[in-house]
Symmetry: C2
Subunit: 199 residues, 2 copies
DNA sequence: GTCTATATTCCGATAGAC
DNA sequence: GTCTATCGGAATATAGAC
């Protein structure tokens, strides 16, 4: 109920942002109509352009925000000088699965929207850079000098993220929704074990 | 040169299908304009509707074809009664990586187009069924009766497919294109080793 | 700031000549 | 079967009153 009050009290600008995040994330840029967003925000269509000028500008705001969320969970972990490789694996798995359980379609959104956008449209470069120069990569190189550190990173992220990307494929009924969630909770404990075996 | 001759000799219908596959796969249904397809096929826009009635019908054809390709590689492998678990892991890895190297954006296309489509629009059900009732799942259950077989399957597919899904994120310049390909070739040998450790 | 009404552009689809 | 021309609808964006 206090929750509802908060929602009602949102400024128009915030209502539009919230609605845009929801609709864009679910349907993607091209399939989203500004009318969908206006309806979801419960505001007049003209207000969307009054506040954000264009669909593209509004999308850009949402996309940058989503990218920050997608990369933000692991960024502090991978650049931590004071934790071991093993601790990093555990942290990344736990944080990431929690994030994706709370934001089911975040990863499919990020990955599918990036494919057309020109390289520079969002500033992806600095996210990428953070990975390449991370402490995590250095630690992997020290531990296994003979194998490309990206292999382990791809394995870790693949095991974490792929289930969410493919969920639409493998679960049909909503009844299986619960099964999916408990499976992911199991994976929080299992994935670090599997990855450690690769080191 | 004989290749070029073949292209020139394609029927109009085939030219449209080829162009539709290319454009839909790259941009997705919503972002694709029928004009893009016509231009890519080097034919008149009206011909597209003459042969296929509508954008949606044409897309349906492409989508079913892409789904068959995406699932077709592993379907015979997972239902083979005469191969061991280990042999199946090796086959799946090899066939899948080869497929994805030849069709870089196949997986991101399939996964992102499915999210909005109603469950029944393409017949996904039988692909799903083939997985659930596969020999592979049975073998996993026998080998590790205490753990959900889907874990291992998600790990295998995640390690194989995720690199292709995230490629746009991690490689910026086209120069890194070659690095990516050789990394994937390495993974053909490494992934089966990692997965076997989980058994 | 918010609304109604409308301008404008874009896109899927078709009519009709050849 | 293939083309040109165009229709009709949908979607983004704006004008102008309140």
């Amino acid at each position: 109920m206090s929750k509802k009050k908060i929602v009602v009290d949102l400024s128009t600008e915030e209502k539009i942002i919230d609605a845009a995040r929801k609709v864009f994330t679910k349907k993607g840029y091209a399939a989203t109509r500004t009318r969908d967003i206006a309806e979801e925000a419960d505001i007049n269509l003209a207000l969307l352009n009054y506040y954000f000028r264009s669909k593209e500008k509004l999308f850009h705001i949402i996309m940058v925000e989503r990218l920050d969320k997608f990369f933000g969970v692991i960024q502090p972990v991978i650049s931590d000088e004071n934790t071991s490789l093993e601790q990093k694996m555990e942290k990344i798995t736990e944080k990431y699965i929690d994030l994706l359980l709370a934001n089911h379609d975040l990863s499919i959104f990020v990955l599918s929207e990036i494919r057309n956008a020109p390289d520079t449209f969002f500033n992806l470069a600095h996210h990428r850079q953070a990975f390449i120069e991370s402490v995590l990569i250095k630690q992997l190189q020290e531990r296994k000098p003979d194998t490309n550190p990206h292999h382990i990173l791809l394995n870790l992220l693949g095991m974490i993220i792929f289930p969410f990307l493919s969920a639409a494929l493998f679960k049909s009924s909503t009844h299986e929704q619960q099964d999916f969630e408990s499976l992911m909770l199991e994976r929080k404990k299992l994935i670090p074990k599997w990855v450690k075996m690769m080191l």
